[in-house]
């Protein structure tokens, strides 16, 4: 056991976490035994161990920085949390940069699209029918009108561009410039 009071605290906390995990494991074991078809043995420790170890390592690092224990406990705690979040972030980034994750995400998204497409279409039809009954233009009609206005604006801009180009050419050719209204 370490003489450092902070290290003692850490050891105690670590012991408690391990005991808690063991208790959880026992509970899970009982639940599995009671289940009609036994599942593959789960080992939550194996899953949580890397994260716990990272947390422990971060805490130990914070605690061992400097010869004497610092009175700035809050600062140390913040530093510890920052390091733990950074460790989590790295782990998650590694997991999310795998092909498996990308594939899983793609499937989830496809599932969402498969479900949402007919719902969206049905909802739109329903709303359109209701609005038509009230004599109010539908969202699609308003959108089409807005698109039409945007197209007209684009044509005007294009015409203006052409006029500008013609004026520039005339200027370059030394012809007398006529001011455009």
């Amino acid at each position: 056991m370490a003489d450092n009071p902070s290290q003692q605290l850490l050891d105690m906390w670590k012991r408690q976490v391990e005991e808690g995990t063991q208790a959880w494991l026992r509970m899970m074991g009982q639940a599995q035994a009671a289940a009609p078809t036994p599942m593959t043995a789960m080992d939550p420790q194996a899953f949580w161990r890397p994260f716990m170890d990272q947390g422990m390592a971060a805490w130990s690092k914070v605690m061992t920085q400097g010869a004497a224990p610092s009175p700035d406990l809050m600062g140390q705690w913040k530093q510890f949390l920052d390091q733990w979040i950074a460790a989590w972030s790295r782990v998650l980034e590694q997991a999310m940069s795998t092909d498996t994750f990308a594939q899983l995400m793609g499937k989830q998204l496809e599932g969402f699209l498969n479900v949402s497409a007919p719902i969206k279409k049905a909802a739109e039809q329903q709303v359109d029918a209701s609005l038509a009954g009230l004599g109010i233009p539908s969202r699609g009609q308003v959108t089409a009108l807005a698109r039409h206005v945007a197209q007209v604006e684009e044509k005007i801009d294009a015409l203006e561009d052409k006029l500008d180009r013609i004026l520039r050419r005339l200027n370059d050719a030394g012809a007398p410039r006529t001011e455009r209204a």
């Binding site: 009175p71 809050m74 980034e93 496809e110 089409a144 807005a146 945007a150 604006e153 684009e154 801009d157």
Partner: protein
């Protein structure tokens, strides 16, 4: 009550003066934290963003061109091209003393900002090609006319970099003085997690766009949040830690407002953006064609600066740097600065590292 607490603490025998001072400071900070937290919850104030004076020069459909006038001690004005969709451009002029726009105008640059606007369902037909060959040339020409200058520098940030690079490479008639790519992906083979997730084996962009039409802001938000799942926890932890500091709180409020305002993508724009850039990496390969013209980055012949951010997970340095290898100029430089995709250009670090670097590099060539 506060004084009583300190008196009690002062009477504790085993406490060193240093420890006591720290505890007093921490207690004081905790009081301030509670006060500011109460204010944020009970009486939230709408942050004032975009403080630098500006005027609208031109508007076409949803897009606008803004001019931020300076004393104009630098001859060549700067056209700033940010991302289309995703987020609003006031991040570049977030708050007084925390604004890239303000910094550049104080350095004597006339600053023109392209504001793509918020596109709706009626704009679903808008493509990347439209943005590069119709909107951008028009806005750039209007900026040039408004400035009265004979040349102009262009700075592309994030997605604005590949868009503006495509524009300047296909419009040799535009009098380009300098070009800057700030955290803008050019080689999409090294674009990180987004590149992986948008891989054509896993992501069917056609089905996505055909089903959704406009890509909703909520979907955009989800994608970006997923990129860094611990970001919100980290942000909230830092907020709590700095909640005693009113300057931090005001900065946080402004940044938080921006960070939660996501914008939708026009459907066809998203389709072309994902397919041509992320999935087929056509830009760096020289296979991209816009309005019948091949986008050849070798056509960029002016001085070029590329700026990467060390911690950038949206446009990692490896996808920014390749621009330097393809452009046809000897006056080119790549710098990698501390920070992430946003903190490269907004925030305290940016005012120390990025803004002075960009301003001095440009001033020497303008």
């Amino acid at each position: 009550m506060k004084d009583e607490l300190f008196t009690m603490m002062g009477e504790m025998p085993a406490m060193s003066p240093e420890m006591l001072a720290r505890m007093r400071e921490e207690a004081n900070r905790n009081l301030l934290r509670m006060k500011h937290f109460g204010e944020m919850v009970m009486n939230p104030k709408e942050p004032r963003v975009g403080p630098t004076p500006r005027q609208e020069i031109f508007r076409t459909n949803k897009s606008r061109l803004w001019r931020y006038e300076s004393r104009r001690t630098v001859r060549t004005p700067l056209l700033f091209v940010p991302n289309l969709g995703i987020s609003r451009p006031y991040i570049f002029d977030l708050m007084p003393k925390g604004s890239f726009v303000e910094h550049m105008t104080q350095q004597g640059f006339d600053f023109y900002l392209v504001d793509w606007g918020v596109f709706g369902d009626e704009d679903n037909g808008l493509t990347v090609e439209d943005a590069v060959t119709k909107i951008l040339p028009r806005l750039a020409r209007k900026a040039l006319e408004s400035s009265g200058a004979s040349e102009m520098s262009v700075l592309g940030y994030c997605m604005g970099a590949p868009l503006s690079a495509s524009f300047v490479a296909t419009h040799p008639e535009f009098p380009l003085k300098n070009y800057i790519d700030m955290a803008g992906p050019i080689d999409f083979a090294h674009v990180g997690l987004f590149g992986k997730w948008l891989d054509p084996r896993y992501f069917d962009v056609d089905k996505y766009v055909d089903t959704l039409g406009t890509i909703p802001a909520e979907m955009v938000k989800m994608g970006f949040k997923l990129l860094k799942p611990t970001m919100d926890t980290s942000t909230n932890l830092n907020l709590w830690w700095n909640l005693w500091n009113p300057d931090y709180v005001s900065g946080f409020t402004a940044l938080n407002k921006w960070a939660n305002e996501y914008l939708p993508f026009p459907g066809e724009f998203f389709r072309q953006w994902v397919r041509d850039f992320y999935q087929q990496n056509k830009l760096i390969k020289g296979e991209l064609t816009m309005a019948g013209r091949r986008v050849d980055l070798r056509e960029i012949r002016c001085p070029v600066l590329a700026v990467g951010a060390k911690e950038d997970n949206i446009a990692p340095p490896a996808c920014v740097k390749p621009l330097i290898d393809v452009v046809s100029t000897r006056d080119k430089e790549y710098v990698e600065l501390p920070g992430g995709h946003i903190s490269l250009i907004a925030g305290r670090g940016a005012s120390v590292h990025c803004w002075p670097k960009v301003a001095s590099w440009l001033a020497a060539r303008s």
